[in-house]
Symmetry: D2
Subunit: 382 residues, 4 copies
């Protein structure tokens, strides 16, 4: 059994909940779940035991009622889970959404205790962070982080930074918890948090779920690298119509995303080929099915110049939701093994910016095999 | 040192010769050569010591004069190598090219001895087969093959089958030779030839050089497999304007190519996703820079349907020519190690249809690493 | 009012019937209908009064029951129209469909009389031919055509040729009828038929409905022509999974399609730029939503070389079905005006191979304006 | 004869000069020149009689020396034309280019007189404005404009606004001159300038040369409009590596470009379909050959959803340079006919934002025909 809490009951959180329940009910195949049902912990062992949001239109509703807006076939089993109020900390600032957070009525320190109580009651083990993309500043030390909490400094902390800290406190009390950071805010790549995790019996997976054009580009670049084709330029566009793309029209949030996306180029090729890789725009009618366009030009043997163009229509939220089905179970495995801190083998496959900080991107095709072996499964092709 | 003979002084053979000499002269970088100059046998150690063709406009000319038609900057060093007459055996049938072969004036058995003499004189070690794509029938036994030679049965044998046999005889006499079969005719995948090779101190690499859309598709399919995305359909088109595409307008030659191209689908995905993967057409102005178009539709998590489209303009001949720079050296390494027969580790990366017969395609990104290790190099990411 | 008969109750015929009824019921907008509801004859004036097929699984059923296989929301109003038995004449030969035709039990001459009786009863005015693509031979004279009928020569005639002849007889008797030939068989481009039409008070529109990549290519080529860009090559692929693509895997049927598709190049550019334009393949899971890929390379000012690539996913049958909503009404208008023979202004916009024989393709964007003016509407931009 | 002055000796100006001289010398075909050599004024009648720039590395050099950086085959005939110093007015602000202008050493009023003297000497007739894209503010009245000049207000005026005014003064003195505004600054769309032109015997063509993805999108949208396909969304990306793309990374310059590009959507479709159409990025290795990507989704008949994707590699500067060969001659024709003010028929084909202000975009395919007729040529298809 794995007891899971969703932080951010948006598109990804809702598709995760809805798809998971359908797989458990045998209604659909576990497509999009990299490890299928191969792990010892089965998909049917995953229990969603809680959900948090700050959108006033979601807080207090059931996950079923929220998920209906994203999926027109939501299992009834989600009617029993209530979306509770989280901390806001400016997550939705400038977005056309009305928000409220625990911090409106209590101090951050009190909010931590309030949440820990709820999580104990829910017997939470794994926390999935799929809140809105944030503009953030990392902390240079644990002191700095704890000071911000203590002083109730709501401008200094993002929600993700807050949740990760609160969960470390919870982990310490109950003897273990896992935080899956599927968004760009640096947590698994922030040494302060990784240290904190080690001391608190906490496992961190992160940062930023590896979906869409980025892991594909990683594998394409590996393909070119292995043929010693010299990459002249890489242009990658992304445009979509879900709230996350809307949030990314904000310059600062966008920068969070850009840096995790761009890191693959030098990591894989060994040189920083000129590139333009950014979330590019919001176009409402595209909805969750984004349009991607990728152009790569390179030099082949005898000076020949080749070009590749990749276009795609890709459902954004299911791509991440499918990974979360694995990550929830891998989080429990890591806890069982007491591998506190962060786990590169997991991050290298599932995350755009795999922690820890000094770790690099490797081709996903290889990362998959190594991750399988970490998880106790046979590799397929190694 | 590796002494190399080119069989088929066409586009690939000429770009190989021209590019190789430019790299040796330090004029260009070894882009397109997967192993760079990492092997103990250096690129500058490769000597082209002979060339064979059957086009009457090529036989008797220098490689320099022939290569000029394919590259407008051919090194003078190729002036010393003469294109000699090979056996024809219908290779150019139905194509608008006038051909003549040794078999016009002598028996096949005599042609073998004639060639062996020339090869001894040249101290040939590695033979690269880049003749025109053939329509062929495999042999079921060594007896059947030898009978065809003995009876001078010019309709039964293709040029590739003949050359491979002649080289086995040469290998036996001189104590080793390598046959690199870069074309679709089954040799490394034909147990008769692999057995023959083992007994004759011959190394075979094959079949059909892995360039263009096929290895890319292999890696894309591996990418999808690893995320458990269920592939609904794959359509792949190829169109080019070089003589090889012209040859493929012939239905039987085309079938040779189709079967090597299609094998990747089931090998990688584990199920035979519906696909249309064929060399599709000839369009003269495209020249050697083919246009490829690939469409893949698949199911992701929660039943979502995604689509990928890959388009490319890819220089066909340099892609294979760059691989031949490695294969020549790997052939010598295999000979030094006496690994007679065929070498799956090499084939799995460099060949569309990696021999031996029972062997399967694996993702190229993984095959590369294993091939490096076979070659005595460190893997990059394993 | 326009009374319409559908010949061939397949994908196009069914989407036409289903979509038309939905528009009439106000359930959907007339998207895909070029003239919207601008004509004096309104969309709601179109009555489907009959349907013919030869597939044993369709004959005897209602159009509703047949259309259900192509559309999951078919209006009940189609329950009243029965699919009657037509003539077969090898239309479905080699396809995995069991067929039967009137000619199994009667002579062709008797079949004509039988059909005329049914059509009189139905008060048919406009006939839409959307049977399976045929391999055909044109007739050189009316005598040759009538001889084939008289001698009951079932191998000489295709179904389309038969229907067009039978309708000419019907037109003569009742004082007017229109035959819309939406398939590649040459009818509007066959002077024998056009002459016959003029004498029989018959209007012919044809040949081959202009949908998909072909009219788009026509407009793209016009765009390039107008900038005096010199087109070096054009490659166009089409792949789909409906029965029509399956039928086109037959070499002879495919040729019918290829020739209508290719004619645009020289017609628009004024020179026969090298091109590869063919229906390329059948891939079942694509269904009716075909994948198209188009590559054009050209020379711009100062010798610069540019490239365009167009990809698309296009629903094949709705594209033609929408045109048929106009063509039915335009057919009636032509009858009212007694413009017997064929009408180039209509064909130039709606048909891939606009009749009469000597007529050429023009850019669709201009053809549209001229067609509007023919139909008594204001041009938009002229 | 037409005597032409180039304002802005950059990529476009240089390719225009170089390509024109090559056509005049019979070295290349006039590809990329829409009207070929059909006009009464022949291509060989165009004389470049002057050139202006403000880049310190260009001023004082010959057009030949400048053009060498953009074209590796520049005709010697360009050695005789010197690049003279223009006015700067912040054109290159924030760009990594050192600039100087006449205004550094004299008042704007003096600069006008200085230039008029030079132009008289050169017998200039047509002025082509291809300076760097500007951030600008239109003038609300002639008074406001003349006040800015008189008060030497260098922050209020852009170079284009200044040149256009100076040329109006020149036109008035010499009895006619044409200003071709190939850049986004509103001149032909600014009533103040159009009025001024009418009073000064000046012809204005503008604004912003119609090249690249925008006119193509206009024709594609017309294609969809004519089939009544309902456009759901349009995404268009452009990325290139020339100085103009670099200039467009500046937010304000970018806005100038965005507004001219976006206007086509509502003009052609009749409704403002949601769209994202912007110059998107700078990627140096792409050079002048930009990469474009266009995605359109629409509803077809019976509610079907289709998608089109267009990708291209397009040489940016030759595309505009070819148009300038026509515009120079059409400018002279307009002067000969005394059609002062602006000429919609010309603008509608050649300009992204065709003046006058109230005029709209029409499909280019139709605009071409009307423009031909204005120019005294036969239409091709009307
Ligand atoms: N494929 C993908 O979709 C993908 C891939 C990688 C990362 N991500 C990341 O996943 C996150 C979620 O994406 P989405 O598409 O579901 O976005 P979304 O906007 O649909 O959902 C975000 C949800 O989080 C809630 N939220 C915001 N701040 C909160 C807070 N402080 N506490 C609790 N809830 C809060 C919002 O109200 C909303 O319901 C984004 O940060 C995105 O960057 C998504
Ligand atoms: N990327 C690639 O180009 C690629 C990839 C995989 C395989 N291949 C294979 O490589 C081969 C060569 O391709 P190419 O583009 O150079 O073709 P090509 O037509 O340019 O060259 C083939 C040459 O072989 C010669 N030849 C034909 N029969 C011969 C014989 N019996 N003996 C000696 N010479 C003979 C021809 O005269 C010609 O010079 C083809 O079989 C092709 O399938 C090419
Ligand atoms: N966009 C398009 O789909 C498009 C465009 C241009 C032309 N067309 C043409 O339209 C035709 C129909 O396409 P479809 O997709 O509907 O194909 P389909 O195979 O779904 O339908 C054809 C129908 O005709 C019936 N039929 C065959 N022979 C017949 C006969 N002799 N008498 C009566 N019925 C007969 C078949 O049984 C079938 O029901 C094809 O010829 C195709 O070339 C289609
Ligand atoms: N296809 C196209 O390239 C295209 C299409 C439409 C419009 N345009 C417009 O054409 C213009 C030129 O494009 P480009 O690619 O040649 O750019 P570029 O940067 O290569 O050239 C601009 C030149 O103008 C010069 N210049 C700048 N300010 C000046 C001034 N005040 N006086 C005189 N010279 C000045 C610069 O020094 C430079 O030499 C741009 O405004 C662009 O928006 C180009
Ligand atoms: Mg890291
Ligand atoms: Mg094999
Ligand atoms: Mg015709
Ligand atoms: Mg305007």
């Amino acid at each position: 059994m794995v007891n899971v809490i969703i932080l951010g009951q948006g598109f990804v959180g809702s598709i995760f909940a809805s798809g998971l329940e359908k797989i458990k009910a045998g209604e659909i195949e576990p497509y999009g779940v990299p490890l299928r049902d191969e792990l010892q912990i089965k998909i049917k062992d995953i229990n969603i035991v809680g959900s948090y949001d700050v959108d006033v239109n979601k807080v207090g509703k059931s996950v079923y009622d929220v998920a209906k807006h994203y999926d027109n076939n939501v299992p009834e089993s989600l009617k029993d889970i209530e979306v509770k109020k989280g901390v806001h900390l400016n997550s939705l600032k400038n977005l056309p959404i009305k928000a409220e957070g625990l911090e409106d009525k209590m101090s951050l320190e009190d909010a931590i205790n309030h949440l820990i109580d709820e999580w104990k009651e829910a017997k939470a083990e794994v926390f999935i962070n799929v809140c809105t993309t944030e503009a953030f500043k990392t902390f240079n030390s644990r002191e700095e982080l704890e000071k911000a909490i203590k002083e109730n400094n709501k401008e200094r902390l993002t929600a993700t930074q807050f949740y990760a800290y609160a969960i470390s406190r919870y982990a310490k009390e109950v003897g273990g918890a896992c935080f899956i950071n599927a968004i760009p805010t640096l947590i698994a790549n922030d040494p302060t948090y990784v240290e904190l995790a080690k001391e608190s019996k906490m496992v961190i997976f992160g940062d930023d779920g590896a979906t869409g054009a980025t892991p594909l580009t990683a594998d394409l670049l590996a393909h070119l690298f292995q043929r010693n084709r010299y990459v002249l330029s890489i242009a990658q566009f992304n445009i979509g119509g879900n709230t996350d793309f809307l949030a990314l029209t904000d310059v600062d949030r966008n920068k969070s995303k850009e840096s995790t996306k761009s890191s693959i180029v030098e990591d894989i090729l060994g040189y920083n080929a000129p590139h333009f890789i950014k979330p590019t725009g919001y176009l409402e009618p595209l909805g969750d099915k984004k349009f991607i366009s990728l152009h790569i030009e390179y030099i082949s043997f005898n000076g020949a110049r080749d070009e590749l163009i990749v276009n795609g229509r890709i459902n954004d939220s299911p791509a991440l939701a499918g990974l979360l089905v694995d990550l929830s179970r891998l989080g429990k495995i890591a806890l069982d093994r007491k591998e506190y801190g962060t786990v590169y083998e997991v991050n290298a496959f599932y995350m755009k910016n795999p922690g820890p900080k000094e770790a690099k991107n490797i081709p996903r095709i290889i990362a998959y095999e190594k991750m399988r072996m970490w998880a106790g499964l046979k590799s397929i092709w190694l």
